[in-house]
Symmetry: C2
Subunit: 194 residues, 2 copies
């Protein structure tokens, strides 16, 4: 997605070879119109699927997921870190949080997903795939069907893509970063087949 790659080049901060700070458009300050266009792009890639729900992880997945939900006209469910007060029973997975540098429990309440749901997962970053696989497993616990995973920025030099494809998950990433050596972001160029 050219608009997104241009923003990454202009505003993304590769602070080392592994970490891209996207605080000016995605993870702290959010460009609402860019998110709308990202939502539309995910829609165009998955529009043939009978999606009934978008699932994401708080907090940075919410913006692209919500915009995508507008196009599909379905609700978003955001998985939460296990809070102190929960209103119902829930599905739980333990994932390693890249930001918090520790294991965290993520949950989805059981009444938010049904077996008949056809779910598109949306998240902001794909790195080692821990968060995405946690979401996959929450949805599997509910017995719902997974249509695929839409990722805003994939760090293709980490192992997430490989792990998700091994699980049979369809993966669509809008920007795939090949490397961030010497502070320079290089993308994997792809021909998009629709």
């Amino acid at each position: 997605m050219k608009e997104l790659k241009d923003v990454i080049i202009q505003e993304g901060l590769p602070i080392n070879k592994d970490v891209l700070v996207a605080d000016s458009f995605l993870n702290h300050e959010v460009d609402a119109w860019l998110m709308k266009n990202i939502g539309q792009e995910f829609y165009s890639r998955f529009r043939k699927e009978p999606i009934t729900k978008i699932v994401t992880l708080e907090s940075s997945g919410i913006a692209p997921a919500l915009m995508c939900a507008l196009y599909f006209n379905v609700p978003v469910v955001f998985a939460k870190e296990e809070p102190h007060a929960i209103s119902s029973d829930y599905y739980k997975e333990t994932v390693y949080s890249f930001t918090q540098e520790e294991l965290v429990d993520i949950i989805i309440c059981i009444n938010r997903l049904e077996k008949s749901d056809y779910v598109l997962i949306i998240d902001d970053f794909l790195a080692n795939g821990d968060a995405a696989l946690g979401l996959v497993n929450l949805i599997k616990q509910a017995g719902a069907t997974i249509a695929g995973l839409g990722i805003v920025i994939e760090k293709s030099f980490q192992s997430g893509r490989e792990k998700l494809l091994a699980e049979g998950i369809r993966l669509e990433s809008l920007a795939r970063i090949a490397s961030m050596k010497q502070g320079k972001v290089e993308f994997i160029e792809e021909k998009l087949v629709r």
Copy 2:
């Protein structure tokens, strides 16, 4: 806002006289089109102000704030709980988290707000006003101007409104709950002057 009040009546769960669970449309599962209409309603109430930025608090403020940002065509900044890795200096306030039942530090990085910014604050709930006042103080630290505060659901029987008005903040709440006794939500009816 009638559409919102109807949803609160139909789907909100007053689990006691103080707590309304809004997990099916706002705090866990999110109704994207309701959020869009909420964003438009905030826009209509604040459209005469020269807003340059929307500020909210992760996670449940993001959806209404993002939709409102689309109408104003400005970015959203979401204040974050203090993470382990931060990319820059930041403003910090300590607030009591109703959900986590403990004090938490919330931050906004200094390069996300400028003195020239004219900020609309958006949040999902107003109860005792702690989170909202934390956001007010973060913005004041940055020296930016506060146009007002837009709240999706105000629990008017708690002290938040009073505290914010005492600070001179313009407050617009789309649904004001007078009481939730015996599991029944009663609203404060208001004539909206535009």
